[in-house]
């Protein structure tokens, strides 16, 4: 919130009756960089702005609006609601991502939404590595009235995923959500383990996992691009959720990710509570980056 109002102030200050010139474009680029868009994406956006308005009189308001529109153009195609194909019974959702990005919490929030709409949900504690990861998910299962399956710390995660799938079938769950341990995408061994989870699930149903969601932390910088790149290749990520947008980070990296990967962004996390999961709205997100809201 603070960065945005700062941003608005800066833009307005820059553009009280000024012509759009090189120097101001550079300043704008800097403002976008501060939202984590990255140099390249920021240059692309200011380039578009320049093409439209170079040498013309512009106000701060104009500039913010045009920038928001440019950003929104990139984000709109990926802003999609999560729709689960319930002909798969259960529909298996695998949740992956780097350590601490919000996988387990997001599963809790998602379970609440799904069971709220009348679906029978089971949560599987596939993080068998981190201390108390199993207990953490168990609490979310209890909170959201979901079924729960877990094993011991140190057990084989792929084995647990397999058992969970069988049990969810037996219990006629509509949706099975499998948590996984956080891992950095540059750790080959851990990524291979993730690949194995996917492979094992496909043994029971060649289409499983039906949905693979990756959580991205809004405070993450340029590394997030590579996170998506590699997790997508290894685990077949087909949807994204950006968490922690209740802080001051704007999550601008999503613009570059949307442009490159075109993966749907289903939700944003805006807090630690069970209801703090909102649909991703391209316009709002773009406006926040361009300093038009908050």
């Amino acid at each position: 919130a603070r960065t945005s109002s700062q941003l608005t102030g800066q833009i307005t200050a820059l553009f009280t009756k000024r012509k759009l010139d090189e120097e101001t474009l550079e300043d704008l680029e800097d403002l976008l960089i501060q939202s984590d868009l990255g140099v390249e994406t920021a240059m692309r956006i200011t380039g578009a702005l320049s093409a439209e308005r170079y040498g013309k009189d512009v106000t701060g308001e104009d500039v913010s609006r045009i920038m928001a529109a440019e950003i929104s153009k990139v984000l709109s195609p990926v802003a999609k609601p999560l729709q689960l194909d319930l002909s798969h019974k259960p529909h298996v959702i695998l949740v992956v991502g780097v350590n601490g990005t919000g996988k387990t919490t997001t599963i809790g929030k998602l379970a609440a939404k799904l069971s709220g709409s009348g679906l029978k949900v089971m949560l599987a504690a596939g993080d068998t590595f981190r201390a108390a990861a199993i207990e953490q998910l168990k609490i979310w299962a209890d909170r959201t009235g979901s079924e729960f399956i877990g094993t011991k710390l140190g057990a084989d995660a792929a084995g647990l995923a397999y058992d969970a799938f069988e049990q969810a079938r037996a219990k006629k769950s509509d949706v099975l959500i499998i948590d996984t341990a956080g891992r950095l995408q540059n750790k080959a061994e851990l990524m291979a383990e993730l690949e194995k989870i996917v492979r094992v699930l496909a043994k029971l149903d060649p289409d499983a996992p039906h949905t693979v969601l990756q959580t991205l932390d809004a405070t993450t910088g340029q590394n997030a691009l590579q996170q998506v790149e590699i997790f997508r290749n290894v685990a077949g990520v087909n949807g994204l959720i950006m968490t922690k947008l209740d802080g001051t980070a704007r999550g601008g990296i999503l613009v570059g990710i949307a442009a490159k990967h075109k993966l749907p962004v289903y939700f944003i996390g805006v807090g630690e509570g069970v209801d703090d999961l909102e649909p991703f709205e391209a316009d709002d997100f773009a406006k926040a980056i361009a300093g038009l809201t908050h």
């Binding site: 919130a1 603070r2 960065t3 800097d30 960089i33 501060q34 939202s35 984590d36 990255g38 140099v39 780097v98 350590n99 601490g100 990005t101 919000g102 809790g108 590595f129 981190r130 201390a131 108390a132 990861a133 207990e135 953490q136 168990k138 609490i139 979310w140 909170r143 710390l153 950095l184 995408q185 540059n186 750790k187 932390d217 405070t219 993450t220 910088g221 340029q222 590394n223 997030a224 590579q226 922690k244 209740d246 802080g247 001051t248 980070a249 990296i253 630690e272």
Partner: protein, 307 residues
């Protein structure tokens, strides 16, 4: 860590060192590239600006440009400024205070506080033969206290018995009390993650500090953080007065610009870096070595220093 920056800066500066003569324009061109390399490594913009301004100021001085090896002089200036930004000497955890010495861990959600608490406790126990007591003040996140309890079992370090329903400040007071009775040398307080604009939680953090009088307050931050690094570091520092930084996930892909940013805006030393999820995966931070590594040109610098 920092490999990315190392590659980029290395090649930019290599372009300079070979040259016999340098103009102001050459320096500016190189600095534009340096700026971009730093931004792409997630160094915060304001820190990048301050950095390139300082280098420019020093590098366009007449003696530099007219010297026999102007390129090498510029590389040395960049190197020295990098060290200035990172801090020159390694600074460890300070335990020079009456026992029990209280260490308080703070930071954003998921930055690695609990894991780092376990790592520090293990290190102080194993290497410095300290008797450590850990306590989780995280009454909010599901199973947060249980997580620390399990790490205590794993590392064979005492943890404060969990009493349901106690407030974080009460747990802080109880921990210090228990440490006095238990003859512990060091207390580590693991707190709940909080965003730096969450006013009630920031107030709670200040209250915990008042109740426990920590000798060290360590901001645990993710080395993969982007531009927000400066905001969060500044805010935490303003609210509780941090004594140092711990950068986690340095085993990530090697940009690590956040480390530079946070040190630069707070002036507080990076005391430790996390290099993995295991309890032993933590290292001391040696700024000079890192600066050398980032530039990948320790030799040039020592050459210039000898000359």
């Amino acid at each position: 860590m920092f490999e990315n920056l190392q590659d980029r800066l290395g090649s930019i500066l290599n372009g300079l060192t070979g040259r016999g003569a340098l103009s102001e324009a050459d320096v500016s061109a190189a600095l534009r590239e340096v700026r971009r390399a730093l931004l792409e490594a997630d160094v915060s913009l304001e820190v990048v600006r301050a950095f390139t301004d300082k280098v420019r100021e020093k590098a366009v001085g007449a003696e530099v440009l007219k010297s026999i090896k102007p390129g090498q002089m510029v590389v040395k200036i960049v190197h020295d400024e990098l060290i200035e930004m990172l801090g020159s000497e390694g600074v460890g955890i300070d335990l020079h205070a009456p026992a029990p010495v209280v260490i308080m861990m703070v930071g954003l959600q998921g930055s690695g506080k609990t894991t780092t608490t376990g790592k520090i406790a293990k290190r102080l126990t194993d290497r410095e033969k300290k008797k450590v007591l850990m306590a989780s003040l995280d009454t909010r996140r599901p199973a947060a206290q249980e997580q620390l309890r399990q790490l205590g079992v794993q590392t064979q370090v005492d943890t404060l018995p969990i009493i349901a329903g106690q407030s974080p400040t009460d747990i802080a007071a109880r921990t210090v009390q228990a440490a006095k009775l238990g003859g512990h040398d060091v207390v580590i307080l693991d707190t709940a993650g909080r965003t730096h604009i969450d006013e009630p939680l920031m107030q709670e953090m200040a209250e915990i500090k008042r109740k426990s009088n920590p000798h060290e307050i360590l901001l645990v931050a993710d080395s993969l953080t982007g531009q927000d690094a400066v905001n969060l570091a500044r805010n935490f520092d303003e609210r509780v007065g941090i004594t140092g930084l711990v950068l986690t996930r340095m085993d990530g892909d090697g940009r690590g610009g956040a480390a530079l940013s946070m040190r630069a805006v707070t002036g507080k030393p990076i005391k430790l870096i996390g290099t993995g999820e295991k309890m032993t995966e933590m290292e001391e931070f040696h700024p000079r070595r890192i600066a050398d590594r980032i530039l990948g040109m320790g030799d040039i610098v020592s050459l210039v220093e000898k000359a």
